[in-house]
């Protein structure tokens, strides 16, 4: 996660430390949570603590927060802009994590809409700081493997914000007999042939 935040802060000079809930100590996290409650009652998103030597800024967003310590003379405008951007990144990141849970259904719906005889056999994905990794196994009709793989890759690309790269390996496998025809369809064929 730190890489993601660093990306948002790369324009700002004088950043000494970046804090996020996952990496902060429990004591620090508890303090931040308490401050968040105070801020919420004031309908504010930012927190600024100033000392003699440095400043501490925190930006709250949904259930998370991100904070930075800087030198005393770093531009507040830049810090706030970078914190805003970070909050957006983290929100997007959270959304992607949620979306991944429904991805199998979404891909199968895509196949259905495009009239492609294919199915997702297995999916094992994880969202990293700046990439989506893992494997999706898709079964498809012979001769359609490449087209189906391209379709899934493009679909994934569209789902991801620009700062999360698609590193998913899409494996296409041939459909098994049971994926080519259902028992019900087979029984219907047999009944029809019997009547010929």
């Amino acid at each position: 996660m730190k890489e993601l935040i660093t990306m948002a802060f790369r324009q700002v000079r004088g950043i000494r430390d970046i804090f996020i809930p996952e990496e902060a100590t429990p004591v620090f996290s508890n303090i931040m949570e308490n401050l968040h409650e105070i801020l919420a009652s004031q309908v504010a998103d930012y927190l600024l603590i100033e000392g003699e030597q440095g400043r501490f800024y925190a930006r709250f967003s949904n259930d998370g927060w991100v904070g930075v310590t800087t030198d005393r003379d770093v531009s507040e405008v830049l810090i706030l802009a970078a914190l805003d951007r970070t909050a957006r990144f983290l929100d997007k990141h959270r959304q992607i994590k949620q979306r991944i849970k429904h991805l199998q259904h979404d891909i199968e719906e895509l196949f259905l809409m495009q009239g492609i005889a294919a199915a997702v056999r297995e999916m094992d994905l994880s969202v990293g700081t700046d990439s989506l990794t893992g494997t999706i196994r898709v079964s498809a009709r012979g001769g359609r493997s490449e087209a189906v793989r391209d379709l899934v890759v493009k679909f994934l690309d569209k789902q991801l914000p620009y700062f999360i790269r698609n590193k998913v390996i899409v494996v296409t496998e041939k459909q098994s007999l049971f994926e080519r025809i259902t028992r019900d369809q087979l029984v219907r064929i047999i009944r029809r042939v019997e009547r010929l």
């Binding site: 001769g143 007999l177 080519r180 219907r188 064929i189 047999i190 042939v193 010929l196």
Partner: protein, 169 residues
């Protein structure tokens, strides 16, 4: 529409085109050409027949070319089949060629299949037992067939379809 595909295959002159013609509800698409030496017709690409089941389901029958020099078509036609029917000429069974086709399909596909011995109405048709022994297939249905007769073709097709159904149980 869901299209279930069955392959009808066999050596040269085993009766694949006739087989499909007997059962297809549409006039089969022939790709037969006269051979230069004998003026006989032979399939050079594939035969194609259809049986419509209902609005969203159809059974397609694809016939492979018999001559070995067109065997590159097997690769294409075997894709996505739910089963295949291997025709064996009862009068002049081309066992090595038939075996070669069978080996190819078994190694590239795991679908059920049956062997139909054609030309059973011919006076010189070899006994079924002889053909069964020559094919050395104990656990596969070997069925007598007259490809010109619809009922006989229908019977072969039904046996294959029931073999496929057995896989589901």
């Amino acid at each position: 529409m869901m299209k279930a595909k069955i392959l009808v295959t066999g050596a040269f002159n085993a009766g694949k085109t006739t087989f499909i013609h007997s059962i297809s509800e549409i006039r089969p698409v022939y790709t037969d050409k006269k051979m230069l030496d004998t003026e006989e017709l032979t399939t050079v690409a594939m035969d194609f027949g259809r049986i419509t089941i209902d609005d969203d389901l159809a059974l397609y029958l694809f016939g492979t070319p018999g001559q070995e020099r067109f065997d590159f078509m097997w690769e294409i036609l075997k894709e996505d089949i739910i089963g295949f029917i291997l025709l064996l000429d009862s009068v002049t069974p081309e066992i090595p060629t038939t075996q070669k086709i069978l080996d190819f399909l078994i190694s590239h596909s795991d679908v059920p299949f049956v062997i139909a011995c054609t030309k059973r109405d011919h006076v010189h048709a070899l006994p079924m037992e002889t053909l069964r022994e020559q094919m050395k297939m104990d656990d596969v249905p070997v069925i007598p067939c007259v490809a010109t007769q619809r009922d006989s073709v229908k019977e072969v097709l039904l046996i294959l379809l029931r073999e496929i159904l057995n896989r589901f149980s």
